[in-house]
Point group: C2
Chain length 348, copies 2
C-alpha cells in the first residue's frame, strides 16, 4: 500500500506541475498553493479502490494505472473546495479552507472590493480547474485507448452522479423527510458511490474492457455496502470524532445541521422531548461544547450510535462475503479486504 | 446560418434531454429548467466559429460537427452561471440569474436554512454539471476518433485557459494596474480566446487533423483580433447598451466596477478631476441613472468611446486582411467575414 500511495502522489505531483508550474507566472501561485494543500492530505482511498479493481480483474502494474487512479484525487479535491464554499466552511483538515485562504490573501494585501467575494470566486475557479484536470489526467494516463474507451461511460456517469448527489443533499437539508432511508440515499449518491463503488468499477472495466456480470455483483455486493458503511463512519466521526484527528471542530456536523443517517436514527428513536431538543439544537451555528455534549448524549442514549456501529459491522460483513464470491486474484482479495476495513474503521 | 443555429440547438436539446430527462425524477426538474434557460438564448457565436473553422479546412457537413460545435455552448453556459454567482448578479439576459432562481424556489417553498446559500450551492453544482457535460458532448460527437484525438489538447488547453483567465480577471479587479494593456490581457484570456480563437482552432484541427502553419496564422491574425474587438464591443455595450436588448440594467458594468479596456482608456485620457469622479463612482452598487449619465459623459468627452470604436474598426480590418491570406474555402471566407462583423457590431 505504501508503494501505491507513493505512486499516486508522484503522478499527482507531476501532473499539477505540468499544468501550473510552481516556478511559473507568480500571479497563479495562490492557485497552485491551494491545489497543493488540497491534494497533500487524504487517505487516497479512491485511487486504491480503482487500482485494486484493476489488479483484481487481472491488470498488471503499469504506470498508467497509477495515473488514472490518481486522477480521482483531483475530482475529490474539486468536490472538497466547492463543498467548502457551499457550506461556508472555515476549515478543511485543520487548515483554512481554500476560499478562506484566498480571502485572507485579499485582506492581507489590502486589495479593493470584498475579500469574501474574491475568496469564493477564486475557490469556485480552482474547483473548476481541478475538475477539468481530473478528466484530462484520466484520459492522458497512458492506458490503452480501448481500455479508456470502455471505462469512459462509467467515468462520465460518476461525475454527473456526484453533482446530482450533491444537489440531492442540498434538497435533503432544505426540505427532506430526514428519514434513515432518505439520508442513506443521499449519502450513497453524494459520496458512497464515487468513493468506493465507481472507482472500483473503473478499475475493473479498465482491466477487462467490459463489465462482466461478476463485476457488477462485486460493485453492488461489496462496493455499495462499503460505500454506505464508509458514510456511516463519516456520520459518527462528524459527531464523535477527535478534532485532533479529523481536523474539524468537535461536533461540527451538528453545528452545520447535517441530516445524516445517524441523526435520522436518533430522531426516530428519541422521546418526543429529546427529539424536540435535537431539532432545536441541530444547525445552531453558535452551538457550544455543552450543546454538543447534550446532543451526543441523546444520540448515545437512544441507541442510535450503537445501531449505526452495528450497521457498519453488518455492511462490512456482507461486503466481505460478496468479495469472497468474486473471482478476483488472491492479492486483490486481500487488499480489498484491508481497504474495506480501513474505510469503515477510520478515525479521520 | 439559420441551419447552423437550428442544428446546434437540436444537438443541445437532444444531449440535455438524454442526461436529465424533462420527464425524469421531478426533484431534478429545477436543474433542468435552469439549464434550458441558460441554453435557450445566446448568439451561438462559438459554435459558428468552430463550424466555419471545420468547413474552412475542408470539412463536410456531417452531423458530428454540429454536436462538437454545440458542446461549446455548454461550456459557455457553465461559465455564465458560475460568473453570476461570483459577481452576485441578479439578472442574465433580462431574467433572474440561475442562483437567484434557485434562491426563489427555496424561499417560495418555505424550506429550511438560507435561501441565498441554497441558491448559490445549486448554481455551483449546475455549473459543474454543464462543465462536465461540455466535455462529454464534445467527446461523444461522433466525429472520427483521430480527429478528436488531434483536437483534444486544444480543447483541454481552452478550458484551463478560461479558468485561469477568469482568475486573472478577479486579480485585475482586486489590485490590477488598470492600464489598457492589462485590461486587454484579461479580456483576451478570460473571454476573447475561448469565444473566437479557440473555437476556430478546434474546427480547423478537427478537419485537418493537425495545426498547419496557416491555421496558426489565421487563429492569431483573425481569431485573436476578432476576440479583442468582440470584448471591446462588450465593454461599450456594458456602459452604453440598451437594456431592452442586453437584458442588463443600463450601465451595469459601471455599477459592478468592471475594469475594462474602455474604462482604462477613459482614466488615461481624463483630467485629474474627471479621473477622480470615475474612480469615485465606478463600482458603487447604488449608482443611479444620474451617476451612469455622468460616467457616460466623461467616457464620451475624453474620446475613449470613439477610441474604442476606432480600435474595433482597426482590429476588424486587420482580421479580415488575415482571413484574406488564409487558404480557406470561399464559402468559409464569406461566413467568417460575416461572423467577424456580427461579433463586433452586435447590440446584445
Amino acid at each position: 500500500m505504501d508503494t501505491l500511495r507513493t505512486q499516486v502522489e508522484r503522478a499527482l505531483g507531476e501532473f499539477v506541475e505540468r499544468r501550473l508550474p510552481a516556478s511559473g507566472e507568480s500571479e497563479f501561485a495562490p492557485l497552485r498553493t491551494a491545489a497543493d494543500e488540497l491534494l497533500s492530505g487524504g487517505k487516497r482511498l479512491r485511487p486504491a479502490f480503482c487500482y485494486w479493481g484493476w489488479r483484481g480483474a487481472g491488470g498488471t502494474d503499469v504506470p498508467g494505472i497509477f495515473t488514472a487512479a490518481a486522477s480521482l484525487e483531483l475530482l475529490q479535491a474539486s468536490a472538497l473546495v466547492h463543498d467548502d464554499v457551499m457550506d461556508k466552511s472555515d476549515l478543511r483538515r485543520g487548515m483554512p479552507s481554500a476560499h478562506r485562504r484566498f480571502q485572507a490573501l485579499h485582506e492581507k494585501s489590502g486589495w479593493h472590493g470584498s475579500g469574501e467575494q474574491f475568496g469564493e470566486g477564486a475557490a469556485i475557479l480552482l474547483g473548476n480547474l481541478l475538475l477539468i484536470w481530473s478528466g484530462e489526467m484520466w484520459r492522458n494516463s497512458g492506458l490503452p485507448p480501448e481500455s479508456l474507451a470502455a471505462a469512459q461511460p462509467v467515468h462520465d456517469h460518476m461525475r454527473s452522479e456526484l453533482m446530482c448527489g450533491q444537489y440531492l443533499d442540498l434538497l435533503e437539508q432544505a426540505h427532506g423527510e430526514n428519514t434513515f432511508e432518505s439520508a442513506l440515499r443521499v449519502a450513497l449518491f453524494k459520496s458512497g458511490k464515487y468513493s468506493v463503488e465507481q472507482p472500483l468499477r473503473l478499475g475493473l472495466v479498465l482491466a477487462a474492457g467490459e463489465v462482466a456480470p461478476w463485476m457488477d455483483e462485486l460493485c453492488t455486493g461489496y462496493g455499495t455496502r462499503v460505500g454506505i458503511a464508509f458514510q456511516l463512519r463519516d456520520d459518527i466521526l462528524g459527531v464523535f470524532g477527535d478534532p485532533a484527528q479529523t481536523g474539524k471542530p468537535a461536533g461540527d456536523d451538528l453545528r452545520e445541521g447535517k441530516r445524516t443517517m445517524l441523526v435520522a436514527r436518533t430522531l426516530a428513536a428519541a422521546s418526543p422531548g429529546d427529539a424536540a431538543t435535537v431539532r432545536h439544537l441541530l444547525g445552531d451555528p453558535d452551538l457550544d461544547g455543552r450543546g454538543v455534549d447534550t446532543l451526543r448524549q441523546i444520540i448515545d442514549d437512544t441507541g442510535a450510535l450503537q445501531e449505526c456501529e452495528n450497521l457498519i459491522g453488518d455492511y462490512l460483513g456482507e461486503a466481505l462475503a460478496a468479495l469472497d464470491q468474486a473471482p478476483v486474484t488472491a492479492e486483490a482479495r486481500s487488499a480489498l479486504t484491508d481497504l474495506a476495513i480501513a474505510a469503515t474503521s477510520r478515525k479521520t
